[in-house]
């Protein structure tokens, strides 16, 4: 066990820090945050991700043949830390990087990897995820979207929901039913779908935070080339499990930790300036307990990720304990934003856009967004089932 960084890693950190300082978009850093307008925000995130790519900071630990830098997971974690420290934006192609890529590395053909992975890193192709359907949420295997083989294509019909960033995505990976006669889990395949194919309609779903990151996606006789099948026909369920493992895993978590850490930092600032009972809120011992709890939980989130990375570095595969990361951070974040509202105190009923609310309404928005954390990527109830049954070996 050693949390010291090697001299090489320290040099890497200095390089990263220097580059970020020089390239951070105007308006970013400690005291500001993203634009109000959602489209502008996502375009800003995309531009930043492309800038990182052109600066050589994308896919640090990916193999070079797929556009990666061949660096270490540790350096990837260092970059994440430095991005957090600088208050840098998140990217947009999170699903491509964190889900499509590892899924293809595990289950794709060499041709699929060479075709898709580099463009994920360059952000020429943004990805979205087509798993959930209106009647297949927690019970994902109940999905009904069909794909019927027709020559060298599959013809896809159905409806997906909660497809994040579908309106910005060029590609979607999708679970489809290819054998309706087979048992539920055995008739599902994993397809890569070009979102520009005729027959696809995307309808944004407005969320309780007012944002429209999610969508309903309707598929009407969408023709998908057969070469876009990943893995075996009717073998999609196992592949989906890989995808979900990464969706819930430490890489995704560490990227989120950046944001929570940045928001917590802002919160400590706000606690110094907000006043209650005639004194700065930060002097209130009761609030201090909650802020300290938040500091502890956010730091443990980072360390939990590092602990998982150490397992990966030893070559141990990511297993069902990925659910552990997801369950931890989603509930942690809900507590964090509740504490943030409590820090705002009497001004909590104000919202983003009001000049009297600190940090531009960041915490109110974060609170609303956080309600979804314990639902998407598999509800907490599903994560607890997985942990109990597959990690602890408890009966179904």
């Amino acid at each position: 066990m050693d949390f010291h960084y090697s001299a090489e890693d320290e040099r890497f950190r200095q390089d990263a820090r220097g580059w970020i300082t020089a390239n951070l978009p105007p308006g970013w850093g400690r005291d500001v945050h993203e634009p109000e307008d959602e489209h502008a925000r996502y375009m800003g995130r995309l531009a930043w991700e492309k800038k990182l790519y052109h600066g050589g900071w994308a896919g640090l630990a990916w193999p070079r043949e797929y556009g990666g830098q061949g660096a270490t997971l540790v350096q990837q974690a260092i970059l994440a830390e430095e991005l957090a420290r600088a208050g840098a934006p998140e990217g947009l192609n999170i699903i491509g990087r964190n889900l499509t890529a590892p899924t293809l590395m595990h289950h794709g053909t060499e041709a699929q990897r060479r075709r898709f992975l580099p463009k994920i890193l360059s952000c020429e192709e943004v990805w979205c995820q087509g798993f959930s359907e209106p009647n297949a949420g927690s019970d994902l295997a109940a999905l009904r979207t069909t794909a019927i083989r027709d020559g060298d294509h599959f013809v896809v019909n159905g409806q997906k929901t909660w497809t994040s960033f579908a309106q910005y995505a060029q590609w979607c990976f999708m679970l489809v039913r290819t054998d309706p006669a087979a048992p539920r889990h055995k008739g599902i395949s994993f397809l890569l779908v070009d979102m520009r194919t005729p027959g696809i309609t995307v309808r944004p779903l407005r969320q309780i935070s007012g944002e429209s990151e999610f969508n309903e996606t309707f598929l009407d006789n969408v023709r998908v080339p057969a070469e876009n099948l990943v893995g075996a026909l009717n073998g999609g369920w196992a592949i989906a499990m890989t995808t979900l493992t990464y969706e819930r895993g430490p890489e995704d978590a560490l990227a989120r930790q950046i944001r929570f850490s940045r928001d917590l930092d802002r919160l400590l600032d706000v606690a110094r300036t907000q006043r209650r009972h005639g004194a700065p809120a930060i002097d209130d011992p009761v609030l201090r307990q909650k802020l300290a709890g938040a500091v502890i939980e956010v730091e443990i989130m980072r360390l939990n990720c590092l602990r998982s990375f150490s397992r990966l570095l030893q070559g141990k595969p990511l297993g069902p304990e990925a659910s552990f990361q997801k369950l931890y951070w989603s509930h942690m974040a809900q507590r964090l934003y509740e504490t943030a509202l409590e820090t705002l105190g009497a001004t909590a009923p104000l919202a983003a856009g009001d000049p009297a609310t600190p940090a531009g309404g960041l915490f109110q928005t974060g609170f609303l967004q956080s309600r979804a954390f314990t639902i998407y990527s598999g509800t907490s109830e599903i994560q607890r089932n997985i942990i109990a049954e597959r990690v602890l070996g408890m009966p179904k």
Binding site: S138, P349, L350, R371
Partner: protein, 372 residues
């Protein structure tokens, strides 16, 4: 010793509920949001006034029903349950203060109009950096400073402003007309899009003793209006939480996953049981607090703070879990859940949050032991 509501009180509740079921809906509430107007629904106001709600606390001699805070309890719960917008509840809170502390002239000037639904009065009491200060002037005072989160100030005929009097640092409530010279309003952007509130600035607003509620400074009046607000918030949170629990149970019984209604899974059903326990315990506390306020019982401070603290925590838990139980659709804008969540969260941080009320309660308990 009796913890039940009277048949009359339950009849009033039923009439409010059935009026709202007929004449009011979440769709209408959403139109108020989308219209982006002043958020005030005159027809709803008139309908509730016709039912007699603003008259409840007004003495019979002044055109009211001459009832007390206990008679408000179930009405407030219904207002929460249906997310009734507008300054109705705020006017009730102000009415309570006017009835108890107003001079004869003030009661005559304000209460008949309130009872008839012609007059809207709201409290302007939220603590902020630059509280209104009244400095003496020939024949009166000059008021400067500001109050934030003054509910529905633009729709109100009068504000009851908590003011500090420079002379002896006494506190009091001052009746201010929002149209008066020196008063300016800035509409605030709110977490609850169905509400309206204003940052109200006072710039050398002149007033005399006739405008001070009760004729002179009264810390008791300021404390009372805060207490009435806290209890009204607690009762409304109970109504919201009750509605949320209904929605959670209904959804859990109807949504099928893994071949069973999700309400058959212990993860869901046990949580609903916990929600019920907290809801009913919150009601217990809120009802008791309305009685303590109505009868000015010695335990009023403790009862009020108990209700606000407990109901705040309970409604937080119940609202959050209801969204969780709904899964994906729980965070869709189209569903109404977040409107309840936003109102409940606003109430949670209005009139003192749970932490502040716990501290206040313990202080009162220890002082009581000291005295005993």
């Amino acid at each position: 010793m009796n913890f039940d509501f009277s048949a009359e009180q339950i009849m009033v509740q039923d009439s409010v509920r059935s009026y709202l079921a007929d004449a009011w809906s979440m769709a209408r509430l959403r139109r108020l949001i989308e219209d982006d107007g002043d958020g005030f629904d005159a027809a709803l106001w008139d309908g509730l006034a016709a039912l007699g709600l603003p008259a409840i606390l007004v003495p019979e001699a002044l055109g009211g029903l001459g009832l007390g805070f206990v008679d408000l309890a179930l009405v407030l719960e219904e207002c929460g349950r249906a997310l009734v917008p507008g300054p109705l509840v705020e006017t009730m809170i102000a009415t309570d203060a006017i009835v108890r502390f107003g001079t004869e002239a003030q009661r005559l000037a304000l209460l008949p109009g309130i009872a008839a639904g012609r007059l809207r009065v709201v409290p302007a009491i939220v603590e902020s950096g630059d509280a209104p200060l009244a400095t003496p002037l020939a024949g009166g005072w000059s008021l400067s400073g500001h109050r934030m989160l003054v509910p529905w100030a633009a729709q109100a005929d009068k504000l009851l402003v908590a003011v500090r009097f420079a002379a002896d640092a006494a506190a009091g409530l001052v009746i201010v007309d929002p149209q008066q010279a020196g008063v300016s309003l800035r509409a605030e952007t709110l977490f609850d899009p169905t509400a309206r509130a204003f940052d109200v600035s006072f710039d050398r607003v002149v007033f005399g003793a006739a405008e001070v509620l009760g004729g002179g400074p009264s810390a008791a009046a300021v404390e009372r209006i805060g207490d009435a607000g806290a209890v009204a918030a607690a009762a409304q949170m109970c109504g919201i939480a009750a509605r949320m629990l209904d929605l959670a149970v209904a959804y859990a019984c109807q949504r099928v996953q893994f071949g069973r209604p999700i309400g058959a899974f212990q993860a869901i059903k046990h949580r609903c049981a916990d929600m019920l326990v907290q809801l009913e315990s919150g009601r217990t506390a809120a009802y008791f607090a309305t009685w303590a306020l109505a009868s000015a019982a010695p335990e009023a401070v403790r009862a009020v703070s108990m209700a606000k603290a407990y109901c705040g925590d309970a409604s937080r838990f119940i609202c959050n879990e209801t969204i969780q139980i709904h899964g994906g659709v729980g965070f869709a804008w189209e569903l109404d859940l977040h409107l309840y969540l936003r109102r409940a969260k606003t109430l949670e941080y209005s009139y003192g949050d749970a932490t502040a009320h716990r501290e206040r309660l313990l202080g009162a308990v220890l002082a009581g032991r000291e005295a005993a």
